[in-house]
């Protein structure tokens, strides 16, 4: 960690803006691009560090891409570096989405536009279904996890409770189950 001058901060911002433009879709699409830009081109972090940051970025709150950007930025230039890298990675989204949103809003009354979005919504169903299957593989590995899945699924379909409640309850349930599984062993989390 070091104090960066204006030029270095500018380079941090631009590098992450580039990563933001090239990340299409979710956080996973970002990993190969980060490897090329941040590890190979700039040498700011090693491959191992990147893998660590990415793993933590997945299990801490928030968007994975933003978490990873903050991590690398703070490694490079402390708190300011973390903030600058984050602003860089969201910058292209802000510009592109605002332009598109303006255009779509002004055409949304057209019949063909409504038909197009009718078709697109069907596609969104299928994409979400595929994403859920992918999440399922990493998340539901034993009967306890299955019970948590079923409980939260039933509750969120049937009730109007805030998702915050499920997050807090499920996190607590995970800790309780972990303690029941291996009570006194230090340092061993549930597998």
């Amino acid at each position: 960690m070091q104090k960066l001058n204006g030029k270095e901060l500018g380079s941090l911002f631009l590098t992450f803006a580039k990563v933001g433009v090239m990340t299409f879709g979710g956080g996973y699409a970002m990993l190969p691009i980060l490897q090329r830009e941040v590890v190979e081109n700039k040498g700011w972090v090693s491959n191992e560090e990147l893998a660590d940051y990415f793993a933590i970025g997945q299990c801490t709150p928030g968007v994975i891409a933003v978490n990873t950007a903050t991590f690398i930025g703070q490694k490079r230039g402390g708190v300011i570096g973390g903030i600058v890298a984050t602003l860089g990675v969201v910058f292209p989204s802000l510009i592109i989405i605002m332009l598109l949103a303006g255009i779509i809003t002004s055409f949304s009354h057209l019949t063909w536009m409504q038909h197009a979005f009718g078709g697109i919504r069907v596609c969104v169903c299928v994409l979400i279904f595929n994403a859920v299957l992918k999440l399922w593989k990493g998340a539901v590995k034993d009967i306890w996890a299955l019970l948590i899945f079923l409980g939260v699924f039933a509750a969120s379909v049937l009730t109007d409770l805030s998702p915050v409640i499920y997050v807090l309850l499920a996190g607590t349930a995970g800790i309780v189950i972990g303690l029941l599984k291996n009570p006194m062993k230090k340092g061993a989390g549930p597998s």
């Binding site: 709150p61 989204s93 038909h115 979005f117 299928v126 999440l135 997050v167 499920a170 996190g171």
Partner: protein
């Protein structure tokens, strides 16, 4: 005060959505229900646009929702709200990197969180299915069960499911191609 509210809602989303961009979806549905700032059918369209444009999905969604509610300042406030918890959490975690990864309570907490997050995304998916594949209004008008189901939509969904999961040459293709193709099908077959 709308901006303060907007910031608070997205801050909450950023703080509790664990596991990447799509994990923000249940929070956005909840937000639509409670605040009436936007409708759930708008949300499905925004998701399609967010998946088809550069940038992390969660950031794109926040920008789009913010823009829909209050134009450019709304987009900026929503996006800042979403990323602020990430920046704070990551800066704290970075200080205790090693002990965070090896902590059994942290691991156990995430063991419980992952199935909950999967369940919430699945439940949000069901809302999109209801929107895209069912025609509740028409069913209420005619009372005929066959009118409840949007058969054109179901047919497209079946084709997309096969293409994205089982057909070798197409299943690795980028979602944007399926979204664009669905838009064309929607226009041609008047969805």
């Amino acid at each position: 005060m709308i901006y303060l509210n907007l910031f608070y809602e997205f801050f909450k989303t950023g703080l509790f959505a664990v596991g990447g961009g799509l994990a923000t979806l249940p929070f956005l549905y909840d937000m639509a229900d409670r605040t009436g700032w936007f409708s759930s059918s708008q949300l499905a369209d925004m998701l399609a646009v967010s998946e088809s444009t550069p940038g992390p999905i969660g950031v794109n969604m926040a920008t789009y929702v913010g823009f829909t509610i209050r134009g450019i300042p709304g987009a900026l406030v929503a996006t800042l709200g979403l990323v602020t918890p990430s920046v704070i959490v990551i800066l704290i975690v970075a200080a205790f990197l090693k002990s965070f990864r090896d902590n059994r309570f942290v691991n156990a907490g995430f063991y419980g969180l992952r199935p909950a997050s999967t369940a919430m995304v699945a439940s949000a998916g069901i809302s999109v299915v209801a929107l895209a594949l069912l025609q509740v209004d028409q069913f209420h008008a005619t009372g005929a069960l066959a009118d409840l189901i949007n058969w054109k939509g179901v047919a497209l969904a079946a084709v997309l499911l096969v293409l994205t999961r089982w057909v070798k040459p197409t299943k690795g293709l980028h979602p944007i191609l399926f979204i664009l193709a669905s838009a064309v099908v929607g226009v041609v077959f008047q969805f």
